[in-house]
Amino acid sequence: MAGPAVLVFLGFVIVPVIMAAYYGFFRWSGFGPATDFVGLLNYVTIFNDPNFQQALGHNLFIVVMSLVIQGPIALLLALLLNRRMRGQSVIRVLIFVPYVIAEVVVGTGFSLMLATNGALNGVLENAGLGWLAQDWLADPDIAIWTLMGILTWKYVGFAVILFLAGLQGIPEELYEAASIDGASFWQIQRRITIPLLGPTIRIWAFLSIIGALQLFDLVYIIWGQYVSSVAGTNTMAIYMVATGRNAGNFGYGNAVAVVIFLISMVVALLYQRFVLRRDTAGAITERGAK
């Protein structure tokens, strides 16, 4: 019975990955058989290309900043919302809304809102904060922070929901015992909640890292392949599409795909090995054996 699933999965997930590895060794326009074998030349070119290095740098920046910005915000919100209050379920739903909206919608909305003569600058102007108005999308000093802002807006709700679910799993007796012992609210959070939320936080961080390494949609929709490299928001996936499919150089595009795949896999395996090892939910290493 597993047959059809395995077949589809192999055909459209595993085979393409293997094909990418194969075509990555060729200079190939994507039509006819690939004959122009160039060995590792594509890979040498990729790593020597300043555009790729720049894109890789942006990805790493986004990985780190996503964790640093979204983690604490989500944790605080989850702690605040993890109590009985009227409207609690409504608040949870509303915080999660940006996560459900399509990247295209988010991108279109934000690019109009953040344009030089857009709504954000208009509101700032009206509030007498005109000096805060910026060229949010085009200024190379600001654009990547704008991107971080949009990413936080879109994905922080996901982290909050995960953390709230994790908080439900912490036994109440611990809180009772701690408050009998006279622990303050923040002591309780720091000594009990956060350590026990560890597994949830580590899984969230993993998903966030993998997502940040493969970021494409929002950047491509808001900035496009050309503007993004000028504004300093281009990512490895943007580079892959720009130099591969859009430039008609499929061999090269496949090589970039392999590089992104390998970087993601190395990060995933290292993370599994050194961070998730303690948790039961190690998807690659332990889950299968369970």
Binding site: M1, L80, I101, A102, G109, A119, N254
Partner: protein, 289 residues
């Protein structure tokens, strides 16, 4: 799943704990956060009710007066409805395919032990870590070699494949939780494996099936990269491609772009609000394993 216990335990916990600050602060923070979260969404929806001159004069203002012409223009446009149709076909077929194939695979993985079961499970679990981005270039070549360019199946089949990992990871614990006694009792009553699947497994796994269906549908409805590669002629566009094409084509008509954009997000929002508890429960179930 986790949700059934949630409300009860929260209630008891906060009663027994003295919280050092009053809840007005919590409400205030929650209000600010919600305003930040919904602000951009409100901007898109309200912007559709304005005219371009209103938007130019006062970019961050409210509709004054409200105009519904933009929404009406979009709603009578055959292009919009064509894209809604394409998105619906792709979404429904992706969901049906992912659920059907995922349920069968999960059933085998959850209830039978055989050589390579761990490997098979690990294969699907590993798929969870690699979104469609890294495979898109070769995937495009596979789809082209199959002659499926510019066709909806060219999007549907890969989407089913990439939806399988989440589906399997969520459904396997569900199916594993069905007690063996039920199966034994069923087989004593003369129920074969297949009829057990139809008559017992399927009904019992409905909550999990709903979760994965919603996830697959919303994922498909919002998908951008794969349709961008596969669908090149306007007749085959799904809504995300349509939104982008529309916004570059009518780049001067901001109000209409906003109307088009807000109409395109309605189905995902409706599905989400109807099944919010199941989605959240499914996601957390998947993450916690």
């Amino acid at each position: 799943m986790t949700l059934t216990t949630r409300n009860g335990s929260t209630r008891r916990r906060s009663d027994s704990r003295r919280l050092p600050w009053g809840s007005p602060i919590v409400y205030f923070v929650a209000l600010v956060v919600i305003a930040l979260m919904l602000g951009p969404v409100a901007y898109i929806i309200l912007g559709g009710f304005r005219t371009n001159s209103q938007i130019t004069v006062e970019p961050g203002g409210l509709p004054d007066p409200w105009v519904i012409q933009n929404y009406l223009d979009v709603l009578v446009s055959p292009i919009f409805w064509g894209e809604v149709w394409n998105s619906t076909v792709v979404g429904v077929a992706t969901t049906a395919g992912a659920v059907a194939l995922g349920l069968m695979a999960s059933y085998v993985l959850a209830r039978y032990s055989f050589r390579g079961r761990g490997l098979l499970y690990a294969l699907f679990a590993a798929g969870l870590m690699f979104p469609i981005t890294v495979a898109i270039t070769p995937l495009y070549i596979v789809v082209r070699n199959l002659g499926l360019m510019n066709t909806l199946p060219g999007v549907i089949l890969p989407q089913i494949a990439f939806a399988l990992p989440v589906t399997v990871i969520i459904l396997v614990p569900f199916l594993r939780a069905i007690p063996d006694e039920i199966q034994e009792a069923a087989s004593i009553d003369g129920c074969g494996r297949l009829s057990f699947f139809w008559r017992m497994v399927l009904p019992l796994s409905i909550p999990g099936v709903i979760t994965v269906s919603i996830l697959a549908f919303i994922g498909s409805w919002n998908a951008y990269l794969l349709p961008l590669f596969i669908l090149n002629n306007e007749a085959s566009f799904t809504l995300p491609l349509g939104v982008q094409a529309f916004s570059s084509q009518y780049s001067v008509d901001t109000a209409k772009v906003l109307a088009f954009t807000s109409l395109s997000m309605i189905p995902a929002l409706v599905f989400f609000s109807l099944f919010e508890r199941r989605i959240v429960g499914g996601l957390t179930g998947a993450v916690k394993g």
